[in-house]
Point group: C2
């Protein structure tokens, strides 16, 4: 991920905003915000503590607030909504794209939603209802309903005059319009006409002669993760969304896809530590502590299971205290080896490289990797332990336990994400805890168990 770059324009902007907020006059902070992208303003708000955030939010222009809310992350967004008056929110969100409005829908107060829906004309209201039907993590939830569409039998010249009329009426064409969709009279999707064709081909050409029939439309219930794969694989800028009957109902644009990919990336950093990707970096300590407590509690259970395993062998430890010294090495090495398999398999699943066909082969490969590294490092730790404690049998048990726990670790690291993916549980979130619980407990058991048999 990125480094801190101190000479950066963005950092300078944030610093100026902060300086203006703390030293005044506030007009200077308001000036700084003018002409900035909503995402930059959202970033500035997110990097401030909650109180200063409130003050900056009051300086954002009322009409810009809607876009800033869309760009802000979960918790910060919630705070900003809570601190805004109903009237202010109505002004802020009523001009948003419908997909953005659908995103905010559940978080806005009911009074705001009602007022905004009441103010919509019938057509916009009907379109909003379509977007709102689909869950936010599907193609339908991601789509805009502003897809331009033409018939296949018209000429490019006719398409141009349609676009000119649309522009005159709406002031601009929809953002990221790289293609105009082509539909049948009943609304069925037929193909797409690239705007670059419109600007470089003979204007008497008919649409059907040049339209792209190859790019498949996306079904509205397609999961967001698959939508992002399509955009990546086919280098799309926009794609048509169709309902179950094949009728064009909207359009997904690459800027929304980029946001989804970025969220997935953030999620994979945060979920591994049991955190929500929406977590506010500068949340009040009590709220933050409460959210993290659950994860610590889960880990506490896992740690006490390991402690219970150790407790089974108190007698052995009493007699050979070196066991207590060396046992964390066995547990930790198994955990690390397992984490490596876990990361590899999680990526393999995400990239759809791993499937029913090859997962047995993958498991065999990982077991081989675990065994090879187990043997190599078992030799190393046995030598170190011999030099330290001069007890050959102890060293033997130590090395053997290490091999076993490494093989156990890679097996668990491979099978856990496969099982979790099958259960539709995010392996990034749950994989690490389950793995460490297993490698700790098994590592202690194997080491102390063998020691009890051979040493005590």
């Amino acid at each position: 991920m990125a480094n801190i770059d101190t000479e950066d324009e963005r950092a300078a902007f944030l610093e100026r905003v902060r300086a203006a907020l703390s030293e005044g006059p506030l007009e200077r902070a308001a000036d700084e915000l003018r002409g900035r992208h909503a995402s930059e303003i959202a970033d500035a708000l997110e990097s401030l503590p909650p109180e200063e955030r409130t003050r900056l939010w009051q300086l954002v222009e009322p009409r810009a607030k809607g876009d800033v809310l869309v760009e802000a992350h979960g918790e910060v967004r919630r705070q900003l909504i809570e601190e805004s008056a109903t009237d202010e929110l109505i002004v802020a969100v009523q001009r948003l794209d419908l997909d953005a409005l659908a995103d905010l829908y559940d978080e806005l107060p009911a009074s705001v939603v009602e007022a905004v829906l009441r103010a919509m004309d019938a057509q916009r209201r009907a379109r909003f209802d379509v977007v709102h039907t689909y869950p936010p993590d599907t193609a339908g939830g991601l789509m805009d309903v502003d897809a331009l569409a033409v018939r296949a039998d018209v000429t490019l010249r006719m398409v141009l005059s349609y676009l000119a009329r649309y522009r005159a009426e709406h002031e601009r064409l929809p953002a990221q319009t790289d293609a105009v969709m082509v539909t049948d009279p009943d609304g069925s999707y037929r193909g797409r006409l690239a705007v670059t064709d419109l600007v470089s081909l003979d204007l008497e050409t008919r649409v059907h002669a040049v339209m792209d029939r190859r790019t498949e439309p996306i079904a509205a219930d397609t999961p967001a993760a698959r939508v992002t794969r399509r955009f990546e694989d086919e280098d799309l800028v926009s794609a048509a969304v169709v309902d179950a009957a094949g009728r064009l109902i909207g359009r997904i644009t690459v800027d929304d896809v980029v946001d989804v990919i970025r969220e997935q990336a953030e999620n994979s950093v945060m979920a591994g530590a049991g955190l929500d990707a929406r977590e506010d970096t500068f949340a009040p300590p009590l709220a933050a502590a409460w959210r993290r407590a659950v994860w610590l509690g889960i880990n506490l259970v896992s740690a006490f299971v390991a402690a219970w395993v150790i407790g089974l062998f108190e007698g052995a430890i009493e007699q050979v205290v070196a066991l207590a010294v060396l046992m964390p090495v066995v547990a930790s090495m198994g955990g690390v080896a397992g984490t490596q398999s876990l990361a590899l398999v999680i990526r393999g699943i995400a990239l759809e490289q791993v499937n029913d066909d090859n997962r047995l082969r993958l498991l065999r490969k990982e077991l081989a990797v675990g065994a090879i590294n187990g043997l190599v490092w078992a030799l190393a730790v046995a030598l170190i332990a011999t030099a330290w404690f001069q007890k050959p049998v102890l060293s033997l048990v130590f090395g053997a336990a290490l091999v076993l726990n490494l093989v156990w670790g890679v097996a668990a690291g491979t099978l856990i994400p496969l099982a979790l993916a099958r259960l539709r549980i995010d392996p990034v979130l749950a994989g690490g805890v389950v793995l460490v619980a297993l490698t700790d407990a098994f590592g202690f058991f194997a080491f102390l168990g063998m020691a009890t048999l051979l040493l005590v």
Copy 2:
């Protein structure tokens, strides 16, 4: 990240390819590949074991091989290049976009590179040299040199006829052309003309009257991570790249940006386990074991430091064996609390929320979070330990050590990524190891040290 979706068209495609490969005839596998995107073929190759990969690679059409190489990941790409004849590689790569060729440059055999460069005309060669000047992780390394440019004083109609001529000559416009760049006669960047303006405005309009002057061009030495932020923040489809003198030298398109973001995401999954994002999921076990051994070795050192700390207190453990039972709980809880701070701060750095100005506040907040959770869980573990061992002083020491290690963990989890980012070391890669080394060693030391003072 994504789940395995068994009903998926892509999975079905992979399965058909594999079936054709193993049961023959090979023509059926070759048929399956025809008309598939290069990225889909690359995915299929990556999900096969090395031997079958070789067989499938031989079935890919010679001209398609260049694009497949570009889409393939590091290690798999290396294998495919090694297994291709020189002539075959020349055919495969000579028609690639120059930025793609520059990406492959270092991995191709010298004889192939020389032949391809010799075959270029002078203009293409000069352009290639420009791209190749910049490191691949900068704007210059990401750019295409196929930016279309017009003067500011021409009419939209003249732009259209320029595009029609370009199209007649090159068969197509450059991919992802959402705008034509506007330059001065000396090549200086002035702005951009949206293609949507071209198709919807009066054709007698002059370019300067409607061009977008607001979207800043990207300097060629801008790091890739900042380029992706610009695309995300400003919802760009393409952006102009300029040299130090402000002259237009190329264009970055969103499809390349999507690939960079995806690589960052993969990297953050893999780097946490000490793995390279280029790792082949189905690498031969010996090669895979060798690459992972380094990381296991680093962790072994950390584990032995922890063991050494425990060794300092052998006497105490001999007398109170419950210490050995409980000590992993102290170490593990500190590690988990620290990991949470680490993930939060790494994300904050990546999103540029954390800076010189607010990092002290962030540290104070994390310390407060650690202290709150430390006190809560200390009470819990002390009660459990009392029920288990009936030794109130032991429980007191246990709880106190837990609080100390949680606070220590969040401090380390906050400061380590800030320090690593300053040293330009990837905190995802190195952060976790350093953190666990610190929380294990400190956790054992605090718990066993206090026990020695109060219990023994």
